[in-house]
C-alpha cells in the first residue's frame, strides 16, 4: 500500500525479501530450501517433471510451519515477537493509516524517536496514532534507540493524547518495546514520572483508545501506552512485567534460564486473555506476522475497527469510567 503522508519508511520493503529462520523453524527451512533447489532445476530446463514434487514439498513445508506455530513455547514466541522481519510501528502506519502526519517533540526538552506519534486517518476517520518503533536497519535502530523511549517520548505521547482528547479524536497505540531506556539522562529527566504521567494521560482520555501489542510489550515502558479501553495482542506477541532474561538474572541469578522465566511468567497472548489482562487476540498468518506482514496488519486493522465500533456512542465520562473499571477488575476474579 502506498504511503500517503510525508512519513518515510525506514526500509521500504527490503526486510521481507530475504527470509531468515529461527532455530526451531529448521524443518521448514530445509523443506523450503529443497523447493528452491527444485525450482532452480526446473528453470534450468531439466527434463524431469518436478512440478508435482514442488507442490508436494510446499504443502509439506506449510504443514510443518503451521504445526510448529500452533505449538510455540513461550520462549519461542519471545523470539518470534522480536523477529527482525516482524512488521513494526512504521509498517502498521503505512498499511493502516492514511495521511499520517507525525508530530515531534515534548515541548519541554527534546524529541525522542523511540516513540513515533501523530495524526492520520484510519478507515476514513481522524485518529491519533502513537507507538514505539524499533527500527529495521542499523541506522534506523540507532535513531529510534531500538524502541526504548526516554522521558521525552512519553511526554510527547502525553502531549498528543491531550491534544486528541481536546479535539475528540480516538487514539490507537501500537506497543513494541523491550522497555523504557535505562540511562543516566533518562533518570535525570524523570523517566519514572514520565511513564506514570503517560499512564495517567491514557486514563484521563474522554475519547476511546485501543492499544495493540504488536511485538514486545515490555513492562512500564509498554503500560504507559497500553492503558486502553481495549487492549489487543497479536497471536505471537508477548507482554510482561520484565524481559525473560531480566527475570532469569534476578530470580535465578542466571540469565541463561530465560526459557524457564518465559514459561513461568505467563507472557503469551493466550495466557493473558485467560487472566483478562487483554481483551482480544489478533490471529497471525501461518508462520507468524513476518511471513505475511500484509495479512497480519490487515487483521490488526479489522480488530481495531471492531473495537472502536464497540465503543461508539459512549460519552466521555462513560469511556473514562469503563476504562477505569476494566483495569480495577483485573485480578479480582481469577
Amino acid at each position: 500500500m502506498p504511503r500517503t503522508g510525508p512519513f518515510e519508511t525506514d526500509n521500504p520493503g527490503a526486510p521481507y525479501r530475504m527470509r531468515s529462520y529461527l532455530d526451531f523453524e529448521k524443518p521448514v527451512a530445509e523443506l523450503e530450501a529443497k523447493v528452491e533447489e527444485l525450482r532452480a532445476m526446473a528453470e534450468g530446463g531439466s527434463a524431469v517433471a518436478i512440478g508435482d514434487e514442488i507442490a508436494r514439498l510446499e504443502a509439506k513445508a506449510q504443514k510443518a510451519l503451521a504445526d510448529i506455530y500452533a505449538n510455540l513455547t513461550p520462549w519461542q514466541k519471545t523470539l518470534v515477537a522480536r523477529h527482525p522481519q516482524r512488521p513494526h510501528f512504521v509498517d502498521y502506519c503505512a498499511a493502516l493509516i492514511e495521511d499520517f502526519t507525525p508530530l515531534a517533540g515534548d515541548r519541554k526538552f527534546g524529541e525522542d524517536e523511540a516513540i513515533v506519534g501523530g495524526f492520520g486517518r484510519f478507515r476514513g476517520e481522524s485518529v491519533c496514532v502513537i507507538g514505539q518503533e524499533k527500527g529495521a536497519t542499523t541506522e534506523a535502530r540507532l535513531r529510534h534507540n531500538f524502541g526504548m523511549a526516554r522521558p521525552e517520548g512519553y511526554r510527547k505521547a502525553v502531549r498528543l493524547m491531550e491534544m486528541a482528547d481536546r479535539f475528540g479524536i480516538p487514539v490507537i497505540s501500537f506497543v513494541d518495546t523491550a522497555g523504557a531506556y535505562p540511562g543516566i539522562g533518562a533518570e535525570e529527566r524523570g523517566q519514572a514520572e514520565a511513564i506514570a504521567r503517560s499512564t495517567e494521560a491514557c486514563l484521563a482520555l474522554g475519547v476511546p483508545n485501543v492499544a495493540v501489542i504488536i511485538g514486545e510489550g515490555g513492562s512500564g515502558g509498554a503500560i504507559a501506552l497500553a492503558t486502553a479501553n481495549r487492549v489487543l495482542m497479536l497471536e505471537h506477541a508477548i507482554y510482561s512485567v520484565i524481559s525473560p532474561e531480566g527475570a532469569a538474572s534476578i530470580l535465578w541469578r542466571d540469565s541463561s534460564r530465560a526459557q524457564d522465566a518465559a514459561t513461568n511468567m505467563k507472557i503469551t497472548a493466550q495466557d493473558l486473555l485467560r487472566f483478562s489482562v487483554i481483551d482480544g487476540i489478533i490471529p497471525e498468518p501461518p508462520g507468524g506476522a513476518h511471513r505475511d506482514p500484509a495479512a497480519a496488519m490487515n487483521a490488526a486493522g479489522d480488530a481495531i475497527a471492531a473495537a472502536f465500533q464497540d465503543l461508539a456512542g459512549l460519552s466521555p465520562d462513560e469511556i473514562r469510567s469503563l476504562r477505569a473499571e476494566k483495569f480495577l477488575a483485573i485480578g479480582r476474579q481469577l
Partner: protein, 302 residues
C-alpha cells in the same frame, strides 16, 4: 531396616531453643560505627551521629507518625494467591509464607487511619522487609483501599513508600497494578484531597513509574535511592560508572522530581503542616513541640 536407618535424631536442640536477639548492635552502613539497637530505635531508626536513615518497618513507621502511636488498622481485601503457580529457585507460595512469618504481616502494604497533630490522616506504608516491598496484587489492592478510605473519610492520603518494584512472581498481574493504582490516584485527585508521597530508601521500578511519582507533594528522606531503573541495570546498559550521588534524594530534588528532602525527625511536623495548609485548616491549638522547626523551608531557601 537396621539401627543405622532407624536412628532417632536428638530433638533437645529444638526444645531448648533460646530466643537470642540477633542484632543488639547495629552497624552504620555508611560509617561502620556500631550503635546499640535501643539508641537507634529511640532515634526513629536513624543512626545518631552519621544521621544515616535505616529502613523502618511498617508498624514502627505508623507508630512514629500517628499521635500517641495509635491508629485504626484498615482491613485489606484478600487477593488470589499465586495465580501463575510461579516457581523460580523456590516456589512463590513458599516465599510468601516465609515473608509472612518474618514480618508478621500479610503483604507489603499496611493502611491506617489516625490523627497527626490532631488532624485525621489516612496513611499507608509499603514495607521493604516484605519481599523487597514488591508491588503485587495484594499491595496494589492495599494502596487502592487506602486511597478509597481517604476519599470516604475526606482525609489527606500519605504514603510512605519503599519498594524494589513489581513483584515478578506475579508476572503481568503485578504490572497491572501500575494502571490500577493510577486509577485510584486519579479518584483521589478528583476528590480534591492531598496526596503526599514520602520516598524512602529504596524506591525503584514500577512503583516509581506509577503512584509514587504522582503525588501532589513528594518528600524524600535523606540519602534514599530513588529511580526507575536500578543502578546496576544502568551500569550494564551504558557501561559507565555512575556519578556520585546519582538517584539519591538530594539529586532528585536538584532535578525537580521531589519537593523537599526531610530528616525523619521532622517528617511528621512537615506533613502535618502541609495537610493543614492544603485542607485549609487552622493552626493547631497545642503542639507537642514548643518551637516548631521548619527544616523544609530552610532547605527550600538554599
Amino acid at each position: 531396616m537396621n539401627w543405622i536407618s532407624d536412628v532417632v535424631r536428638p530433638k533437645i536442640k529444638t526444645l531448648f531453643k533460646r530466643e537470642v536477639p540477633e542484632n543488639l548492635w547495629i552497624k552504620c552502613p555508611e560509617t561502620g560505627q556500631m550503635v546499640f539497637h535501643k539508641d537507634v530505635e529511640a532515634n526513629l531508626f536513624v543512626i545518631p551521629g552519621s544521621e544515616y536513615h535505616l529502613r523502618m518497618a511498617a508498624k514502627a513507621r505508623l507508630a512514629s507518625f500517628f499521635d500517641g502511636g495509635t491508629w485504626e488498622e484498615i482491613a485489606l481485601p484478600e487477593v488470589p494467591v499465586d495465580p501463575l503457580k510461579f516457581r523460580d529457585e523456590k516456589r512463590y507460595v513458599d516465599r510468601l509464607r516465609d515473608a509472612r512469618a518474618k514480618t508478621g504481616a500479610q503483604d507489603a502494604v499496611q493502611v491506617g487511619v489516625g490523627t497527626v497533630e490532631g488532624s485525621t490522616v489516612t496513611a499507608a506504608v509499603q514495607d521493604f522487609e516484605f519481599m523487597g516491598g514488591s508491588l503485587g496484587m495484594a499491595a496494589g489492592e492495599a494502596i487502592i483501599t487506602g486511597m478509597e478510605t481517604a476519599i470516604a473519610r475526606r482525609t489527606p492520603f500519605v504514603l510512605f513508600v519503599s519498594s524494589g518494584g513489581a513483584r515478578m512472581q506475579e508476572g503481568i498481574l503485578s504490572l497491572m497494578q501500575m494502571p490500577r493504582t493510577t486509577v485510584a490516584v486519579r479518584r483521589l485527585k478528583e476528590a480534591r484531597l492531598p496526596y503526599i508521597v514520602v520516598l524512602t530508601n529504596p524506591t525503584t521500578g514500577g512503583v516509581t513509574a506509577s503512584y509514587a511519582m504522582l503525588g501532589d507533594v513528594h518528600i524524600a528522606e535523606p540519602g534514599a535511592l530513588i529511580g526507575f531503573a536500578g543502578p546496576r541495570v544502568i551500569e550494564q546498559t551504558i557501561r559507565e560508572k555512575l556519578p556520585e550521588g546519582f538517584q539519591r534524594s538530594e539529586y532528585l530534588r536538584e532535578h525537580g522530581m521531589v519537593d523537599m528532602v526531610v530528616h525523619r525527625r521532622d517528617l511528621k511536623a512537615t506533613i502535618a503542616r502541609l495537610c493543614r495548609l492544603l485542607m485549609k485548616q487552622g493552626k493547631p491549638v497545642a503542639v507537642d513541640r514548643p518551637a516548631q522547626q521548619q527544616p523544609a523551608l530552610d532547605a527550600a531557601a538554599e
